[in-house]
Symmetry: C2
Subunit: 431 residues, 2 copies
């Protein structure tokens, strides 16, 4: 189970100007523990229904059944056409569980075309074998410009290449009833999966949106739900001072509102968890960044890499950030270093590489604390599907709580409409 260490966010460590008094924080936890119950009670409501995804074992069966039917095609590439919440969860899963260099291995490759950059799309589509590729189009409304433009491009390619029964190269993940994509899929007899109507895009990783691409790429999706369910039980049963979601939510809220830590840096000490940080970046920004006055700005950083890029600013710039470290306890592969360095560096001889990154993490979290920059660490026993399930549910629940604390609707995103309207106007005029 994931463990939270919040010592470096408390006044004992960073002072009262930048940290929280332990006793008062515990009182705040107790006072706000009703919010946890409130979120659970709302689980049938639109938005909050992400909680119910952890129970949907029927979906696991359905997806795994579909994956079996696909074995005969020996897909070499699984390519998701989706953007934002339709891509970020899947990318996080891929990098965490297949590794950020998975495309060098001889297994099927999982790609996400989550942009409409013409050079980028061209390079991917010309480098892979279309005949050996399955494309998953993900859009709840079917009206999102980016994936639909890409679908239009890919369908054109499939037809141009005269691929027989091109429908088998396509899967749609969309609203069970509404929207533009559903009737297209029905007419064309394309396999379709549902985006549950009460779940929003950025909370959808544990629905078909994240699970279908993951399962096709060989990820154990039932372990994901087991992890998510365990985390929900922990959140339900823990006393306030041990409740991971409540601790994360209240720390975030109080450090922002009372200590002016207006940016939240998520910094995994793991390449494979870096894109999990990007998933969280959407979740926090779109859910809480509202009303002209609320919402921390999320930032993703990578340990140890960004010690040599951002740590100068973090340690000596304006003290306006809070840091969430993700620390992996056991590395699955942990190569041993040689014995080839001169005396000045002999502390690196015969070490394991994991010892070095662990020491770097401690160096950074402690130096930040010494400079009165509050930070916390999530210690993750090992990166696997169950741990990922725990992490997704933990942060989704945190953000649902933050909606209540900040008194904003965590499940809408009115601020993206204006740009879409202008974009459509431009494209409609130039026909």
């Amino acid at each position: 189970m994931i463990k939270i260490d919040l010592a470096n966010s408390l006044s004992e460590k960073v002072g009262l100007k930048d940290g929280l008094n332990r006793r008062i924080f515990n009182e705040e936890l107790a006072k706000n523990s009703n919010l946890v119950k409130k979120v659970f009670n709302l689980k049938n409501q639109s938005g909050y229904a992400f909680i119910e995804l952890a129970e949907d074992t029927a979906l696991i069966k359905k997806i795994n059944g579909f994956v079996k039917t696909q074995k005969k095609y020996k897909w070499k590439n699984i390519i998701v056409l989706g953007i934002g919440g339709s891509a970020l969860g899947g990318i996080a899963l891929r990098d965490a569980l297949l590794g950020s260099y998975h495309y060098l291995e001889k297994k099927p490759h999982l790609f996400f075309l989550d942009n409409i950059d013409p050079d980028n799309a061209h390079q991917l589509l010309k480098s892979i074998k279309i005949e050996k590729s399955i494309f998953i189009v993900i859009s709840k409304s079917g009206g999102t410009v980016e994936p639909m433009a890409l679908y239009n491009l890919v369908k054109g390619l499939l037809i141009k290449k005269r691929i027989k029964n091109y429908q088998k190269h396509l899967v749609f993940v969309t609203d069970p009833e509404k929207g533009i994509l559903r009737p297209v899929g029905k007419k064309e007899k394309i396999t379709m999966f549902d985006v549950p109507s009460k779940v929003g895009g950025r909370f959808s990783v544990l629905s078909s949106v994240g699970l279908l691409p993951a399962a096709l790429a060989g990820i154990d999706i039932s372990a994901l739900l087991i992890g998510a369910k365990k985390m929900l039980e922990t959140i339900k049963k823990s006393k306030p001072s041990d409740n991971p979601a409540l601790i994360l939510a209240l720390l975030q809220y109080l450090l922002d509102v009372k200590r002016q830590k207006i940016m939240t840096v998520m910094m995994p000490y793991s390449n494979n968890l870096f894109r999990f940080g990007d998933w969280y970046r959407q979740l926090l920004a779109e859910s809480i960044g509202k009303n002209k006055s609320t919402g921390p700005t999320p930032i993703t950083a990578l340990g140890a890499t960004d010690q040599h890029s951002q740590l100068q600013l973090y340690n000596e710039g304006i003290n306006n950030k809070w840091f969430i470290f993700l620390h992996v306890i056991k590395h699955i592969n942990n190569p041993k270093l040689g014995n080839h360095l001169p005396v000045e560096l002999n502390f690196l001889n015969n070490k394991k590489l994991g010892d070095v990154i662990d020491a770097a993490y401690i160096g950074t979290s402690e130096s930040l604390a010494e400079n009165k920059r509050p930070n916390i660490t999530l210690h993750i026993p090992q990166i696997n599907a169950e741990a990922l399930g725990e992490l997704f549910m933990l942060f989704e629940f945190q953000v649902a709580l933050l909606g209540l604390l900040y008194k904003v609707d965590a499940f809408n995103q009115p601020g993206v409409e204006q740009s879409k309207i202008i974009t459509k106007k431009i494209l409609s005029k130039t026909i």
Copy 2:
């Protein structure tokens, strides 16, 4: 040549509370134009010497000569062991000029091991053919823990695999005289290139640090210097109101200090320029994030992708950001969409994908301006080596100017030492 459009940062567009009055801004440009001369006059000084890199055609010759000698080995992989300024410039070059999917093509692949994550390093090193790989170790001092740990790992591998004449698989890029790596290279007869002693890591992309890996991967490095030189001439000769470096520096400074835009979001509408944003993120953060009270926090975002992740916050959250858009005018490959979308989306039928991303960029920059969020755009005619040379030099010069405006030493990074000391202590104790 790159063109800057600053209309969306002026009060005419976003109001005086969040933007700058055009007349006053022009006066400020004139008043501060002496700073441009000052930077040029300092070009022999430590730090400022990055300016001289644009003139170093002898280095181009030397590197291209070395690349010729390597042809016979038919390297399949060029792997840089370096972190921070030793990696970010090279990564920016690779993605911009080879494309972010270059590893799917049949050319030599350029990798950057810029972290000490054991699972990540293991996955790369076991997936490639070591016998077909050349490793470039980049560390000015030779004392940086991360690349030296990786060098120790790789040298161990080369020996374990009994590769004959393993020295030919290694190149060092390090200080011309000082440091730990130079004597090791001399003793082992390993080819070495210099990091110029007066140039800091984050300003070193146009030295061997960025040029050597780029040239080995087939990039036209002389065009890079031509672009950099052209940009320097433009900066030298333009009148203040047309001077791109001065405009960028003063806008950044005034919007931060006078309009509380304490975050700077660099948002290229191009996957291939996304990592250029990461290069700039280090340049700005390490150079200006100092003294507990100065320095904007740089953020990298990707258009159009992050419209579906961060735009909600950017448009409706706290108005504390300034945005730099990188807009590519001509896409080298611009696939045409099909004709397969239903009537609701027929504005996407028969378009080019580039039309769609262009419309998305306009939609976002205009919606931000309508919400009084100041932003500028750099219009880049086309992504090529010359344009990259222009961009690197433009932003390096901007940051040198920012050092003078903020009155900080732009070329040191004292804030990263503490973490290094703790890390070394931990590793030394556990031997």
